[in-house]
Subunit: 636 residues, 2 copies
Amino acid sequence: MRRYSPVDFTRVQLTGPFWSERLETVLTRTVPSQYKKLDENGILESLELKDPPPPLRVPFNEHGFTMQYFWDSDIGKWIEAAGYALRHRRDAEIERQVDEIVDKLEAAQMPDGYLNLWYQGHEIENRWTNLRDRHELYNIGHLLEGAIAYYQATGKRKFLEVMERSLDHIRNTFGTGDGQKRGYPGHQEIEIALIRLYQLTGERKQLDLAAYFIDERGRQPHYFDEEAIARGDDPTKYHFFNTGNYEYGQAHKPVREQDKVVGHAVRAMYMYTAMADLAAELDDDSLRHACEVLWKDVTTTRMYVTGGFGPSASNEGFTTDYDLPNDTAYCETCASIAFVFWAQRMLNLELDGQYAEAMELALYNGVLSGLSRDGELYFYENKLDSDGSHRRWPWHPCPCCTMNVSRLVASVSGYFYSVGPGAIAVNLYGGNSAELELDGRRVRIEEQSDYPWSGKIKVSVHPDGHGVFALKLRIPGWARDGVAMLNGNPLDVPGQLQNGYLVIERDWIEGDVVELDLPMAPRRIYANPKVKMDRHRVALARGPLVYCAEQVDNETPVPDLILSRDAAITETPRADLFDGIVTLTAPAQSIGSDDWGPDLYRTTPPAPADTTLTAIPYYLWANREAGPMQVWIREG
Amino acid sequence: MRRYSPVDFTRVQLTGPFWSERLETVLTRTVPSQYKKLDENGILESLELKDPPPPLRVPFNEHGFTMQYFWDSDIGKWIEAAGYALRHRRDAEIERQVDEIVDKLEAAQMPDGYLNLWYQGHEIENRWTNLRDRHELYNIGHLLEGAIAYYQATGKRKFLEVMERSLDHIRNTFGTGDGQKRGYPGHQEIEIALIRLYQLTGERKQLDLAAYFIDERGRQPHYFDEEAIARGDDPTKYHFFNTGNYEYGQAHKPVREQDKVVGHAVRAMYMYTAMADLAAELDDDSLRHACEVLWKDVTTTRMYVTGGFGPSASNEGFTTDYDLPNDTAYCETCASIAFVFWAQRMLNLELDGQYAEAMELALYNGVLSGLSRDGELYFYENKLDSDGSHRRWPWHPCPCCTMNVSRLVASVSGYFYSVGPGAIAVNLYGGNSAELELDGRRVRIEEQSDYPWSGKIKVSVHPDGHGVFALKLRIPGWARDGVAMLNGNPLDVPGQLQNGYLVIERDWIEGDVVELDLPMAPRRIYANPKVKMDRHRVALARGPLVYCAEQVDNETPVPDLILSRDAAITETPRADLFDGIVTLTAPAQSIGSDDWGPDLYRTTPPAPADTTLTAIPYYLWANREAGPMQVWIREG
């Protein structure tokens, strides 16, 4: 069913300033500093399996849960990011660090293949007794993705072999056969990793295991009930049981029957990613249909304008339709990252531009906001309104988002292109040089642009020999007035638009040039009035970037700003800010308590004072002095 | 210091429809039904002192507290309301009910005068060990007010004598003398009752005890600490200790040093009432100054537009300046009632109209909203915004508000007039016939009006003989354009205005008539922008009544209503509603999700739809079918 495939990120070299800077920061600062953090926070020490184990670094919470249960996943995710970094440029120090970890993992692995540092260090007798809460399969998933990335970077197979033994053990333990447990992960992730391994090795058993986990999920009698009873627990005492079912982990019913995006946002998005992958690999229309229903649900009722997901801290996830509070938004960075994964899979099913547009939205906003400018500070929660107290942290008891953002940025160029039969699709823009393969031919694409700051994009095509193929250039929904030229001759953009892509099919020859001019005029975004929190408010955007008003750029207290509906919004290039960005400014009003005396009430309204609103791209907020921030600005 | 005195409510007969209806409802429905509720809920049974005591009707909460601790106060408050009812018209059945209660109280009283049904029934060994939490002195205060009222109604002294013995016991137990505890009430109230007893009997010792309680409050070493240590408790474990001090009960510092209105709202208002009383009785400028500072503080930073007080349920009280949330407003009915008490005392210090205006505001809105139209359902919390789930209840585990509203309405005519040397002041309007005494003379005042529905007021003066005196007619702040005529001749209202009162000094003769025409045009009220919750919102008022939009009168969902700033507001007499009221209507807009498809976001704003806004007086809401209600309406 999959018509298109992504392109390995190593084939696309980023040359434009926007992504070059983010990539370089992640490679030179984020990845190395994360190894130090893993070390300082005792996570690497857990590889030693000391007896007795060292005291907990992250104490049990009131539910008897410690985030150390999933330290293995942090190790795996860091190796994945490090592997991607090594594919950009080999680095002996990083390789030594990974090799040392892999040696310890190999040494730790039990003869039967079981591998989980928490259980092996603390309570091996309880292994595989609580898939619902304890992340054993989730951890293996992230370790496996790390092993794949490290193998791809170095050709070293040891880690991959450790993981293959672990998977054989898991395959023996879980399944529908006699004597097997019909279990599946409480936190989905391993499904994605298994599909990646299948794509690497072609081994059908890896794909089958992923499909088993997805197919088994949510069936009755419920495995989570059964394993709880088996270990002597009351299944109803599950502390994320507040919905009266297993919605928290999307195990409340079989996945093909799910039509509402519910529960823990990252679990949900990882599962949908795997479902879309399986739909493509297995040509499974029922999974594809479920994905399409869930996609429509989340993007029309439960998505923040920044491509953030999950309003609630209490379940790190979804609540009710149109419940999108700004100041208490949870919007975990990992959820936006996982959405990017899902969107990419949906996009490659049939190259529908809506998926690329949502992917780009989340990437430039909800994802990038999670990493500081200097690459060493993080947001776990990406609020859309802050009184100034919400700040980036250098590490977190649950450091999942940190390595998630580094692995995504380190491989971001892999999201730029898709290749399908007779077609090359450009999904994301930003200067780059791509060496692609199309139906056995090599095609080099060079893109010159300063996207997203400018909408002027020049794409030159360098095919290896002759032959007709389609170049499909995505025209974002906000750029439908864009113009395009082929070798200086205007193209009929509306006439050549298919599913959001400008399709140019021809016998491309060396040096053919397509020029795009995507209109980058600032635009106002309004939310459906059912989103009560955003009523009478407006968000500003320019290109793929959502903007916010941060106090440091504004004289008027940000919560006092009022933007009138007809105020002209000016784009202002600011070379002095963040190596050069475009800010948005507009004449605005301040709610004006200046003309109020001590009265609490009076019969004349407050007289607004004239002021100026300055907005910066949302992803850049909280990199300077602390202060209030708002994405949704009062419109009056 | 007190220049003016209130007039006993029996001297003022209500003849206007507004207050006649409320009074009649309270006398015929509320007071009798409350006796039944006291009986049904086990409160009267507590008079029996059964051994063993019956099971708790109100279980201990998580702090080891039961609201049964203050059942005595409910009995006292009902007798006070019943006493007022009997002063309107004797009723053998009510008298029999009260006499029976009094006999039981007399029988229960211990030889040393101690009287508290909880302690005597459950844990007499612990009496007087926890003034902070256990309401012993508060209970005596309410019983005493009941005894005074019943004596005034019937001339029967038995209850009063029981209470005098109880007070003698308290006087022996508490004070600054050797062997005395330097205690004072955790919940203020007894101070007001003692001053009333002093005003009835002239016994200075009652006034002195009230003054002692006020003077001792908040001194160091702190009595609440000492008594906690004495009973083996940790004083810092006080569950209302969240401010790190005794602000909850206004015992964080001596009362004269208090300059912020803090803590439990009813406790605060009762204390300020007693402070203002003592300032007058003792000519105490320091207490008066403290009251003025606290008055200014609360009315400029912490008062709802309805005359409600205390935004927070967690402490039933105050939080921070300008924190006046509408949907979570606590605004206990008792707090507005207690504010009326305080305002009356402040008013009578020097007849400053600002106090009468605030008193009227609270009375017509925050107080009256607490009682249903039928007189048998109650609000404990008077929210200013509801999604429709907030409804009136027939009774409450803490029934304080129920008898508080009945005792106030039953005696409301006592707030209409003040008399001072050479002056009669009309503070509140509404048809009535008053028999007043002024400097030894009798003056009858007849007021004909349909206030607050109409601002046309006709006051005729019937003095007993000749002599100059001033008639002072309050001109509310919203009626400064009002016109007045004396015997058909126009008066110079601005020229004769003193402290908010139109002063007419003359040798009044039989049949002199003053006619007032107070403009009742609807007005828009805005809140100081520091009240974030009310920004971009407007409240509507007409005369002393604050209005609200209730769903049952509106086609558009109330939260969707938008009133444009220049929309004309029409007064509509509605004979069909609540025996005749005036509603306010205006052309308005609905936020309009009608024109939205399934999109969550788009670049064009929602198109408002035309609709009509209908508002009713706030005090009448929640007497019909359930639905959303808003006082503060979106202005756009």
